[in-house]
Subunit: 134 residues, 2 copies
């Protein structure tokens, strides 16, 4: 069902410092920072070997990652995002087996302009998993 | 310097339940469980799309993941493991730039029989990074 690991999301207290750190220490390619007000985050993408780290920092008052940063002031891994071919079919299968989709259950347009859902981490040993349709 | 994401390590309260969950819900391939007494963990590998999740459970009294599980009783993402060609050169570069290697600084033989080190998460926005020589 999952076709590819799209990114590993890391919430950080300082986006520029974090991206410079990955760039200097691991020769990583880093993107420009981008505000996503609809999602309450500012992001920088870090290409680390064959994986992508999505650095996230809260934007605005209702940011979905503000509480995480408060609980983890140094930062930390926030979620894993996997690609799926058909997000509707994936949701139907998972919900049919008793898994829970956060935020009402219907896909929303995510940070990359594609339909996404987040699965309840209580169903996946504490791991928050985002599914993104590609 | 980093050549490949080797695995994402997830500490879980119940290895069999967690691996069955990934198998059933995501059609993942899962390995047999393996006790690694020298490392204080029992492991199961889960092949999830193009990534590998290493499920970890404490083994013995001095397990390095016991405290993590106590603090995160549902489980959670513990570390990211990246491959390097030359772990000695990687350590020299990182330490030369002020990063800290945990456990004395010298590589040890890791869970896969290869030299590994763990980098201090305080240098990487709370992310524990394992380097493994391949």
């Amino acid at each position: 069902m999952l076709t590819k690991l799209n990114h590993i999301a890391v919430v950080v207290p300082d986006l520029v410092a974090a991206s410079e750190n990955y760039k200097t220490r691991f020769n990583a390619e880093v993107s420009e920072s981008k505000d996503l007000p609809d999602h309450g985050v500012t992001t920088i993408f870090v290409k680390l070997a064959d994986s992508t780290i999505e650095l996230l920092h809260p934007l605005g008052e209702d940011s979905p990652v503000a509480k995480f940063l408060k609980n983890n002031p140094r930062g930390g891994i926030h979620h894993l995002c996997y690609e799926v071919d058909d997000i509707g079919a994936a949701i139907d299968k998972l919900v049919g087996e008793g898994a829970k989709v956060l935020g009402g259950g219907a896909p929303k347009i995510g940070a990359h302009g594609k339909p996404v859902v987040f699965l309840d981490p209580r169903d996946f040993t504490g791991v928050l998993i985002e599914l993104e349709q590609h």
